[in-house]
Symmetry: C2
Subunit: 463 residues, 2 copies
Amino acid sequence: MKELDYFFYPKSIAVIGASGKKDSIGKAIFENLHGNLRKGKHSAKIFPVNPNHKIILGKKAYASVKDIPSGIDLAVIIVPAKVVPAVMRECVEKEVKAVIIISAGFSEIGEKKLTAELSSIIEKNPNTKVIGPNCFGIFVTDNCLDTTFAEKRKMNYPRSGNVAFMSQSGAMGVAVLDWMSTQQFGLSKFISYGNAMDVDEADLLEYLSGDSKTKVISVYLEGVKEGRKFMKIAKSTSKRKPIVVLKGGVTEETHAATASHTGSLAGSAQVYEALFRQTGIVQANDMLELFVLSKILENAPLTRGKKVLIITNGGGYGIAAADQVIRKGLELANISKENSKKLRKAFPSTVTIGNPLDLVGDADDRRYQIAIESAIKDENVDMIMVLVLFNTPSIDRNIVKKIISLRKKCRKPMLVLSIGSRYTNERKTELEKGGVVTFNYPSGAAIALKGLYDYSRFRKYAP
Amino acid sequence: MKELDYFFYPKSIAVIGASGKKDSIGKAIFENLHGNLRKGKHSAKIFPVNPNHKIILGKKAYASVKDIPSGIDLAVIIVPAKVVPAVMRECVEKEVKAVIIISAGFSEIGEKKLTAELSSIIEKNPNTKVIGPNCFGIFVTDNCLDTTFAEKRKMNYPRSGNVAFMSQSGAMGVAVLDWMSTQQFGLSKFISYGNAMDVDEADLLEYLSGDSKTKVISVYLEGVKEGRKFMKIAKSTSKRKPIVVLKGGVTEETHAATASHTGSLAGSAQVYEALFRQTGIVQANDMLELFVLSKILENAPLTRGKKVLIITNGGGYGIAAADQVIRKGLELANISKENSKKLRKAFPSTVTIGNPLDLVGDADDRRYQIAIESAIKDENVDMIMVLVLFNTPSIDRNIVKKIISLRKKCRKPMLVLSIGSRYTNERKTELEKGGVVTFNYPSGAAIALKGLYDYSRFRKYAP
């Protein structure tokens, strides 16, 4: 077992500050952990720790972590900040392997004494690894280990999948967790790491780099603790799997705010951009971009080049997509002469053989099949954007199956763009379930493909 | 009645090419019009015209529009292109006021002879106004007049509201119509105008400028027919109400595609950008921007300046928003000294009095109320972005009512940003119903406020 494994796959957990009090964080966390144990989702033993109660929610409670008869892999601390150093000392004495400190009230509010005290304990005891303080904890989809305290009735959890998400900001993390549940991509591990007093973003990157459940690492980052260490680990991680980063505090005006938020130094936007470029990190400029980039990088193979073919049954939609392809720095593919001739023969004269390849409003699934098959074979085409407006009378549900089967044969990145309401969304969900990644807006799709292209280049040329 | 009123509020309609044939466009359009008449949604008389049938879907059919005993305000033509000129001549003889030609097969496929013939008839008979050919028709929400032919089971229609949408591209138009139904803003009139052989984008702008149901005009445009005319009308319209334009074919590479799509000349991106700036048009760079700009311009008052205050209960979310405010060219407001002092007294020490004004994770509706009330009064604040993460335990449903009531008192633009799944979306729907405009992503909200600011400046300084 690797050091950080104890955070994600513990066999025994102490909840220090567990409580039976209504609406308390201590109750929420204990119930999350214990509830999932009861449901058989994980098998870790759970021990409530609270000196003021003998029994908590029907379980025997211990006055101190030291009183627990067996060894402890993970302790979750939810006590007031001023008690944290004492509790942490007990964890060290108990030789707890991993500690998550949820409690806030340290450097993020300028509290120096407690911060120094806690920091000194952690430094002197490197065998007990710490995530936090001032964090939201972790959520692991493959064993349903959940140390977070969001109100379950107010949120949904994403399905199990291959995107890990780590966030310095706790609230941002929860909102993203909740939002991810509405999207067609799955989570492997969620980590809110707060002030990063011990385990920092670089350590977590390194761990996720070796995590077989994780294909893409998605990060909301306000600052980096140790530039050199981060750079080295990011670079070696990027050679194995993509990292997508949304940097908070990229403008001069927002530096100060990040400093007060998690107590980290934001650094200038230029410095970070250079750092990201050199380490193969794909930079997202907004939350939306973080999501579309994670989605494509989880799903699509690497691309050989940046030439995109747009296939559409809506002329205007195709042009809007072509505009975005160019704007984001990609190129429009020129269909090979040989394929152009074949397509000209196969299609009625109303179809424009070009890019966008406009199959026009009466296109059916057969026309799409011919166009996509031709694009798959065409040496001039690196990536395929399939635009489908499902509202037209000539498109029926067969097209979904055909696109899914073509996508399976296709070794190039291929995505579907479509926009509409209920009927269209049902078709898109079917596509996503069949492994086809879909988007609403041309800009999002183009950003996704550009990120994929940049990452593919890094992989090709990285020393 | 104004000339173009006959398109939108006709008392009698001939459907030329009406049909009882399953899956035909002639059947779809006739049923749409007749169905809404039967349901009492409009009171226009409908006459099917088709020389091959005596009865269509239970109604007496006429061999020619000329055989209809009463006068005709609007004719909808859905016959093959080669028959269109003859049918159009009959409409002229019948003195039909307005004609919508749905049929395609003219300049957009390079068909010169039929195009010239139809064009010549139209030119010689200015009393019969024509929309189309190669268009999708119109949809009016206040009387449910619907000449479109989308398959109803495959789409939803937006609710009645104050945004008019006009699109050169038909398929783009339908998809947007369908998509709008999923959004919390309403439509006044939808117009797909196709090749614009007679009534063009400028004529429609002028009409919508005087339309009391329309507060914002939203346009997907590939090219402008007469630059000077468009410029004059756009400028005078912008002085009354905002126009938002998504220009298709803005790159060198996509010019050619727009030319083949609706046969219009795209012109260079720079020329259009200058044209839009001079006429007060708010330019959208993508479909997403078209929507967010339409939404804010329908909802918010003009702004005095570009200083934005961000109020949040999630630090990271606030910083992401601040980054976008700066990136889009707006400014972060500095809370006035007097207000800062008051807020410092009112809030616990964990709250950061700055911008973002971070009310931190345990903020409740009372804390939000104090912050928003202070922002409404603060002379240094021009616009207010309220970020609410609804997943936190201390936020309950009361906050919705409070924000709605504060929004009513507020004469500055104020919007809500929030991201999540079911629970959050329910709260956002309640806010929207109460007149508060909401967004998911910081980038969309910042683009919306920047567009509002640009338009407000145009209104202030336009001669």
